[in-house]
Protein backbone atom coordinates (compact mmCIF):
# COMPACT_ATOMS: atom_id res chain seq x y z
CA UNK A 1 0.00 0.00 0.00
CA UNK A 2 1.51 3.35 -0.94
CA UNK A 3 0.74 6.15 1.46
CA UNK A 4 0.79 9.88 0.78
CA UNK A 5 3.09 11.79 3.12
CA UNK A 6 0.68 14.47 4.28
CA UNK A 7 -2.06 13.85 6.83
CA UNK A 8 -4.76 15.88 8.54
CA UNK A 9 -3.78 16.60 12.13
CA UNK A 10 -5.81 18.16 14.93
CA UNK A 11 -3.69 20.15 17.39
CA UNK A 12 -5.42 20.52 20.76
CA UNK A 13 -3.60 22.93 23.07
CA UNK A 14 -4.72 25.92 25.11
CA UNK A 15 -1.38 27.67 24.56
CA UNK A 16 -1.32 29.85 21.45
CA UNK A 17 2.47 29.57 21.41
CA UNK A 18 2.36 25.80 21.34
CA UNK A 19 -0.41 25.66 18.74
CA UNK A 20 1.63 27.98 16.57
CA UNK A 21 4.84 25.95 16.84
CA UNK A 22 3.10 22.62 16.30
CA UNK A 23 1.09 23.74 13.28
CA UNK A 24 4.18 25.29 11.70
CA UNK A 25 6.18 22.10 12.26
CA UNK A 26 3.31 20.09 10.75
CA UNK A 27 2.97 22.26 7.66
CA UNK A 28 6.74 22.11 7.14
CA UNK A 29 6.35 18.33 6.92
CA UNK A 30 3.46 18.53 4.44
CA UNK A 31 0.59 17.98 6.88
CA UNK A 32 -2.51 20.11 7.16
CA UNK A 33 -3.73 21.02 10.62
CA UNK A 34 -6.80 22.10 12.50
CA UNK A 35 -6.60 23.57 15.98
CA UNK A 36 -8.69 23.50 19.13
CA UNK A 37 -8.05 25.38 22.37
CA UNK A 38 -9.44 22.73 24.71
CA UNK A 39 -10.93 19.26 24.82
CA UNK A 40 -14.53 20.38 24.35
CA UNK A 41 -13.68 22.29 21.19
CA UNK A 42 -11.74 19.28 19.93
CA UNK A 43 -14.65 16.88 20.50
CA UNK A 44 -17.08 19.26 18.80
CA UNK A 45 -14.80 19.36 15.77
CA UNK A 46 -14.30 15.61 15.70
CA UNK A 47 -17.96 14.75 16.20
CA UNK A 48 -19.29 17.20 13.59
CA UNK A 49 -20.49 15.57 10.37
CA UNK A 50 -20.06 11.94 9.38
CA UNK A 51 -16.48 10.71 9.39
CA UNK A 52 -13.88 12.43 11.59
CA UNK A 53 -12.17 15.22 9.67
CA UNK A 54 -8.62 14.30 10.77
CA UNK A 55 -6.20 11.36 10.73
CA UNK A 56 -4.27 12.01 13.95
CA UNK A 57 -4.77 14.10 17.10
CA UNK A 58 -1.97 15.88 18.98
CA UNK A 59 -3.36 16.38 22.47
CA UNK A 60 -2.23 18.55 25.36
CA UNK A 61 -3.15 17.40 28.87
CA UNK A 62 -3.55 20.46 31.05
CA UNK A 63 -6.32 22.52 29.45
CA UNK A 64 -9.35 24.47 30.66
CA UNK A 65 -12.95 23.31 30.05
CA UNK A 66 -11.97 19.69 29.39
CA UNK A 67 -8.49 18.32 30.04
CA UNK A 68 -6.57 15.88 27.89
CA UNK A 69 -7.32 12.81 30.04
CA UNK A 70 -11.08 13.28 29.79
CA UNK A 71 -10.88 14.22 26.09
CA UNK A 72 -8.91 11.05 25.40
CA UNK A 73 -11.33 8.92 27.45
CA UNK A 74 -14.35 10.35 25.59
CA UNK A 75 -12.69 9.74 22.24
CA UNK A 76 -11.94 6.13 23.12
CA UNK A 77 -15.54 5.53 24.22
CA UNK A 78 -16.89 6.95 20.95
CA UNK A 79 -17.31 4.28 18.28
CA UNK A 80 -16.48 6.71 15.47
CA UNK A 81 -13.41 8.23 17.15
CA UNK A 82 -11.76 5.37 19.02
CA UNK A 83 -9.62 4.33 16.06
CA UNK A 84 -8.00 7.80 15.70
CA UNK A 85 -4.38 7.76 16.86
CA UNK A 86 -3.82 10.25 19.70
CA UNK A 87 -0.31 11.49 20.44
CA UNK A 88 -0.08 13.34 23.73
CA UNK A 89 2.20 16.39 23.64
CA UNK A 90 2.29 17.77 27.16
CA UNK A 91 4.51 19.56 29.63
CA UNK A 92 3.18 17.24 32.35
CA UNK A 93 6.30 15.17 32.80
CA UNK A 94 5.49 12.72 35.58
CA UNK A 95 5.40 9.02 34.86
CA UNK A 96 1.88 8.62 36.29
CA UNK A 97 0.54 10.89 33.58
CA UNK A 98 2.33 8.91 30.87
CA UNK A 99 0.99 5.60 32.22
CA UNK A 100 -2.51 7.02 32.62
CA UNK A 101 -2.62 8.27 29.03
CA UNK A 102 -1.28 5.03 27.56
CA UNK A 103 -3.82 3.06 29.62
CA UNK A 104 -6.69 5.20 28.31
CA UNK A 105 -5.50 4.58 24.76
CA UNK A 106 -2.93 7.19 23.72
CA UNK A 107 -0.60 6.06 20.96
CA UNK A 108 2.39 7.90 22.39
CA UNK A 109 3.41 10.57 24.89
CA UNK A 110 5.82 13.44 24.20
CA UNK A 111 6.92 16.10 26.62
CA UNK A 112 7.28 19.77 25.69
CA UNK A 113 9.23 21.26 24.17
CA UNK A 114 8.79 18.43 21.69
CA UNK A 115 11.58 16.94 19.65
CA UNK A 116 10.66 17.56 16.00
CA UNK A 117 12.45 14.44 14.73
CA UNK A 118 10.78 12.10 17.23
CA UNK A 119 7.36 13.64 16.68
CA UNK A 120 7.82 13.39 12.90
CA UNK A 121 8.61 9.67 13.15
CA UNK A 122 5.69 9.00 15.49
CA UNK A 123 3.30 10.93 13.26
CA UNK A 124 4.40 8.97 10.22
CA UNK A 125 3.77 5.67 12.01
CA UNK A 126 0.39 6.88 13.30
CA UNK A 127 -0.69 8.03 9.85
CA UNK A 128 0.26 4.65 8.38
CA UNK A 129 -1.75 2.95 11.15
CA UNK A 130 -4.77 5.18 10.51
CA UNK A 131 -4.67 4.63 6.75
CA UNK A 132 -4.39 0.88 7.19
CA UNK A 133 -7.48 1.08 9.38
CA UNK A 134 -9.26 3.15 6.70
CA UNK A 135 -8.34 0.57 4.04
CA UNK A 136 -9.67 -2.26 6.23
CA UNK A 137 -12.94 -0.38 6.73
CA UNK A 138 -13.25 0.25 3.00
CA UNK A 139 -12.55 -3.42 2.28
CA UNK A 140 -15.24 -4.56 4.72
CA UNK A 141 -17.72 -2.10 3.22
CA UNK A 142 -16.99 -3.45 -0.28
CA UNK A 143 -17.29 -7.06 0.88
CA UNK A 144 -20.73 -6.02 2.12
CA UNK A 145 -21.61 -4.68 -1.34
CA UNK A 146 -20.57 -7.98 -2.95
CA UNK A 147 -22.69 -10.02 -0.54
CA UNK A 148 -25.61 -7.64 -1.17
CA UNK A 149 -25.07 -8.22 -4.90
CA UNK A 150 -25.24 -12.00 -4.35
CA UNK A 151 -28.60 -11.58 -2.61
CA UNK A 152 -29.81 -9.30 -5.42
CA UNK A 153 -28.81 -11.93 -8.01
CA UNK A 154 -30.87 -14.53 -6.13
CA UNK A 155 -33.84 -12.14 -6.13
CA UNK A 156 -33.26 -11.37 -9.83
CA UNK A 157 -32.85 -7.69 -8.98
CA UNK A 158 -29.13 -7.29 -9.54
CA UNK A 159 -27.87 -4.20 -11.38
CA UNK A 160 -24.23 -4.80 -12.43
CA UNK A 161 -23.29 -1.10 -12.17
CA UNK A 162 -23.80 -1.26 -8.40
CA UNK A 163 -20.50 -3.14 -8.24
CA UNK A 164 -18.50 -0.73 -10.44
CA UNK A 165 -16.51 0.64 -7.48
CA UNK A 166 -15.58 -2.81 -6.15
CA UNK A 167 -14.82 -4.11 -9.65
CA UNK A 168 -12.18 -1.40 -10.03
CA UNK A 169 -10.07 -3.06 -7.30
CA UNK A 170 -7.10 -5.03 -8.53
CA UNK A 171 -7.38 -7.78 -5.89
CA UNK A 172 -9.45 -10.95 -5.41
CA UNK A 173 -12.51 -9.00 -4.25
CA UNK A 174 -12.36 -6.89 -7.40
CA UNK A 175 -12.09 -10.06 -9.50
CA UNK A 176 -15.13 -11.53 -7.73
CA UNK A 177 -17.11 -8.36 -8.43
CA UNK A 178 -16.07 -8.45 -12.10
CA UNK A 179 -17.13 -12.13 -12.33
CA UNK A 180 -20.53 -11.18 -10.83
CA UNK A 181 -20.93 -8.36 -13.32
CA UNK A 182 -19.91 -10.53 -16.29
CA UNK A 183 -22.24 -13.36 -15.24
CA UNK A 184 -25.11 -10.96 -14.77
CA UNK A 185 -24.48 -9.35 -18.15
CA UNK A 186 -24.26 -12.78 -19.85
CA UNK A 187 -27.53 -13.86 -18.24
CA UNK A 188 -29.14 -10.59 -19.38
CA UNK A 189 -27.83 -11.09 -22.96
CA UNK A 190 -29.09 -14.68 -23.03
CA UNK A 191 -32.48 -13.50 -21.82
CA UNK A 192 -32.60 -10.87 -24.55
CA UNK A 193 -31.70 -13.47 -27.24
CA UNK A 194 -34.33 -15.92 -25.96
CA UNK A 195 -36.99 -13.22 -26.00
CA UNK A 196 -36.09 -12.35 -29.61
CA UNK A 197 -36.30 -16.04 -30.58
CA UNK A 198 -39.67 -16.41 -28.89
CA UNK A 199 -40.91 -13.34 -30.74
CA UNK A 200 -39.72 -14.79 -34.09
CA UNK A 201 -41.41 -18.13 -33.32
CA UNK A 202 -44.65 -16.32 -32.52
CA UNK A 203 -44.56 -14.58 -35.90
CA UNK A 204 -43.88 -17.88 -37.71
CA UNK A 205 -46.69 -19.59 -35.81
CA UNK A 206 -49.07 -16.77 -36.67
CA UNK A 207 -48.11 -17.00 -40.35
CA UNK A 208 -48.57 -20.81 -40.37
CA UNK A 209 -51.96 -20.41 -38.75
CA UNK A 210 -53.02 -17.90 -41.38
CA UNK A 211 -51.78 -20.18 -44.21
CA UNK A 212 -53.64 -23.12 -42.76
CA UNK A 213 -56.84 -21.06 -42.60
CA UNK A 214 -56.40 -20.09 -46.25
CA UNK A 215 -55.87 -23.76 -47.14
CA UNK A 216 -58.94 -24.72 -45.19
CA UNK A 217 -61.00 -22.27 -47.26
CA UNK A 218 -59.51 -22.97 -50.70
CA UNK A 219 -59.39 -26.76 -50.39
CA UNK A 220 -63.22 -27.22 -50.50
CA UNK A 221 -65.72 -28.27 -53.25
CA UNK A 222 -67.58 -25.05 -52.69
CA UNK A 223 -64.46 -22.95 -53.41
CA UNK A 224 -63.52 -25.11 -56.44
CA UNK A 225 -67.09 -24.78 -57.76
CA UNK A 226 -66.89 -21.00 -57.35
CA UNK A 227 -63.57 -20.96 -59.21
CA UNK A 228 -65.04 -23.00 -62.12
CA UNK A 229 -68.03 -20.72 -62.33
CA UNK A 230 -65.79 -17.71 -62.33
CA UNK A 231 -63.69 -19.18 -65.17
CA UNK A 232 -66.79 -19.96 -67.18
CA UNK A 233 -68.08 -16.42 -66.75
CA UNK A 234 -64.65 -15.01 -67.75
CA UNK A 235 -64.58 -17.22 -70.97
CA UNK A 236 -68.15 -16.25 -71.96
CA UNK A 237 -67.34 -12.61 -71.55
CA UNK A 238 -64.26 -12.94 -73.75
CA UNK A 239 -66.27 -14.65 -76.61
CA UNK A 240 -68.89 -11.88 -76.54
CA UNK A 241 -66.11 -9.29 -76.76
CA UNK A 242 -64.40 -11.20 -79.64
Amino acid sequence: VSLPDGGRVLVVDDSAVNRMVLTKALSADGHTSLTAENGLQALELLQAGGEPCVDVVLLDIDMPMLDGYETLARMKSDERLRHLPVIVVSSVEDLDSVVRCIKIGATDYHTKPFNAEVLRARLKASLAEKRLHDLQLEYLEQVGRVTDAAAAIEAEMFAPETLDGVAARDDALGQLARVFQRMAREVADRERRLKAQVQQLRIEIDEACAARKVDEITDTDFFRNLQERANTLRLGSEQVDG
Binding site: S15, N18, M20, V21, A25, D62, K112
Partner: protein, 142 residues
Protein backbone atom coordinates in the same frame (compact mmCIF):
# COMPACT_ATOMS: atom_id res chain seq x y z
CA UNK B 1 -5.92 43.08 26.54
CA UNK B 2 -4.19 46.48 26.55
CA UNK B 3 -5.17 46.96 30.17
CA UNK B 4 -3.90 43.50 31.13
CA UNK B 5 -0.62 44.23 29.36
CA UNK B 6 -0.31 47.58 31.08
CA UNK B 7 -0.98 46.05 34.52
CA UNK B 8 1.40 43.17 34.03
CA UNK B 9 4.15 45.46 32.78
CA UNK B 10 3.58 47.77 35.73
CA UNK B 11 3.89 44.80 38.12
CA UNK B 12 7.05 43.57 36.42
CA UNK B 13 8.71 46.96 36.18
CA UNK B 14 7.94 47.79 39.80
CA UNK B 15 10.11 44.87 40.97
CA UNK B 16 13.40 45.88 42.52
CA UNK B 17 16.62 44.16 41.49
CA UNK B 18 17.38 40.84 43.16
CA UNK B 19 18.08 37.22 42.41
CA UNK B 20 15.50 37.11 39.56
CA UNK B 21 14.98 40.76 38.80
CA UNK B 22 18.46 42.14 38.53
CA UNK B 23 20.81 42.60 35.62
CA UNK B 24 19.74 41.23 32.32
CA UNK B 25 21.91 38.69 30.61
CA UNK B 26 20.05 37.48 27.53
CA UNK B 27 22.42 34.63 26.78
CA UNK B 28 21.74 33.17 30.24
CA UNK B 29 17.97 33.45 29.89
CA UNK B 30 17.41 31.71 26.57
CA UNK B 31 18.69 28.38 25.31
CA UNK B 32 20.18 29.09 21.90
CA UNK B 33 19.68 25.52 20.72
CA UNK B 34 15.92 25.71 21.38
CA UNK B 35 15.69 29.00 19.48
CA UNK B 36 17.68 27.45 16.66
CA UNK B 37 15.28 24.49 16.47
CA UNK B 38 12.40 26.97 16.12
CA UNK B 39 14.29 28.74 13.33
CA UNK B 40 14.75 25.38 11.62
CA UNK B 41 10.99 24.81 11.74
CA UNK B 42 10.00 28.12 10.16
CA UNK B 43 12.89 30.55 9.80
CA UNK B 44 13.58 33.91 11.47
CA UNK B 45 10.18 35.37 10.66
CA UNK B 46 8.41 32.45 12.29
CA UNK B 47 10.61 32.71 15.41
CA UNK B 48 9.78 36.39 15.56
CA UNK B 49 6.05 35.60 15.32
CA UNK B 50 6.29 33.03 18.14
CA UNK B 51 8.11 35.55 20.32
CA UNK B 52 5.40 38.13 19.61
CA UNK B 53 2.65 35.71 20.68
CA UNK B 54 4.63 34.76 23.79
CA UNK B 55 5.09 38.44 24.71
CA UNK B 56 1.37 39.10 24.27
CA UNK B 57 0.25 36.05 26.26
CA UNK B 58 2.76 36.13 29.10
CA UNK B 59 1.65 39.40 30.76
CA UNK B 60 -1.95 38.16 30.73
CA UNK B 61 -0.90 34.90 32.34
CA UNK B 62 1.27 36.75 34.88
CA UNK B 63 -1.74 38.89 35.78
CA UNK B 64 -3.77 35.70 36.25
CA UNK B 65 -0.95 34.32 38.39
CA UNK B 66 -1.02 37.36 40.63
CA UNK B 67 -4.82 37.41 40.83
CA UNK B 68 -5.07 33.72 41.71
CA UNK B 69 -2.34 34.02 44.38
CA UNK B 70 -4.24 36.91 45.95
CA UNK B 71 -7.51 34.95 45.76
CA UNK B 72 -5.80 31.74 46.96
CA UNK B 73 -7.27 30.00 43.90
CA UNK B 74 -4.86 27.09 43.61
CA UNK B 75 -6.51 25.60 40.52
CA UNK B 76 -6.30 28.80 38.48
CA UNK B 77 -2.80 29.38 39.83
CA UNK B 78 -1.69 25.89 38.78
CA UNK B 79 -3.09 26.31 35.27
CA UNK B 80 -1.54 29.74 34.70
CA UNK B 81 1.84 28.56 36.02
CA UNK B 82 1.59 25.44 33.85
CA UNK B 83 0.94 27.41 30.65
CA UNK B 84 3.70 29.91 31.45
CA UNK B 85 6.03 26.99 32.05
CA UNK B 86 5.14 25.36 28.71
CA UNK B 87 5.42 28.61 26.76
CA UNK B 88 8.72 29.50 28.43
CA UNK B 89 10.15 26.05 27.74
CA UNK B 90 9.05 26.28 24.09
CA UNK B 91 11.18 29.43 23.71
CA UNK B 92 14.11 28.00 25.64
CA UNK B 93 13.56 30.12 28.76
CA UNK B 94 14.62 27.27 31.05
CA UNK B 95 15.14 29.25 34.28
CA UNK B 96 11.79 30.99 33.92
CA UNK B 97 10.06 27.69 33.10
CA UNK B 98 11.65 26.04 36.15
CA UNK B 99 10.28 28.72 38.50
CA UNK B 100 6.84 28.31 36.91
CA UNK B 101 7.10 24.53 37.35
CA UNK B 102 7.87 25.02 41.04
CA UNK B 103 4.81 27.25 41.49
CA UNK B 104 2.65 24.85 39.50
CA UNK B 105 3.75 22.01 41.78
CA UNK B 106 2.98 23.99 44.91
CA UNK B 107 -0.44 24.96 43.58
CA UNK B 108 -1.16 21.32 42.69
CA UNK B 109 -0.38 20.32 46.27
CA UNK B 110 -2.39 23.24 47.64
CA UNK B 111 0.75 24.67 49.28
CA UNK B 112 0.16 28.38 48.81
CA UNK B 113 2.55 29.51 51.58
CA UNK B 114 5.31 31.38 49.82
CA UNK B 115 3.37 31.37 46.54
CA UNK B 116 3.28 35.15 46.50
CA UNK B 117 7.08 35.40 46.79
CA UNK B 118 7.53 32.78 44.10
CA UNK B 119 5.11 34.64 41.83
CA UNK B 120 7.21 37.78 42.36
CA UNK B 121 10.34 35.91 41.36
CA UNK B 122 8.57 34.65 38.24
CA UNK B 123 7.52 38.20 37.36
CA UNK B 124 11.09 39.40 37.79
CA UNK B 125 12.44 36.52 35.77
CA UNK B 126 9.93 37.23 33.03
CA UNK B 127 11.26 40.77 32.76
CA UNK B 128 14.70 39.35 32.01
CA UNK B 129 13.29 36.87 29.50
CA UNK B 130 11.26 39.59 27.84
CA UNK B 131 14.28 41.86 27.53
CA UNK B 132 16.36 39.03 26.15
CA UNK B 133 13.67 38.31 23.58
CA UNK B 134 13.43 41.98 22.68
CA UNK B 135 17.20 42.09 22.22
CA UNK B 136 16.96 39.02 20.05
CA UNK B 137 14.37 40.75 17.86
CA UNK B 138 16.50 43.90 17.63
CA UNK B 139 19.52 41.77 16.71
CA UNK B 140 17.57 40.03 13.97
CA UNK B 141 16.41 43.37 12.55
CA UNK B 142 19.86 45.02 12.57
Amino acid sequence: LAEALRQARAVVEARPGGPDGGDVDGSAELDASVLQSLREIGGDEFLSDVIDVFRVDAPILLATLRRSVDAADSDELRRAAHTLKANGATLGAGGFAELCRELEERARNGELDGASELAERIEGRYLRVEQALAALGAGAQS
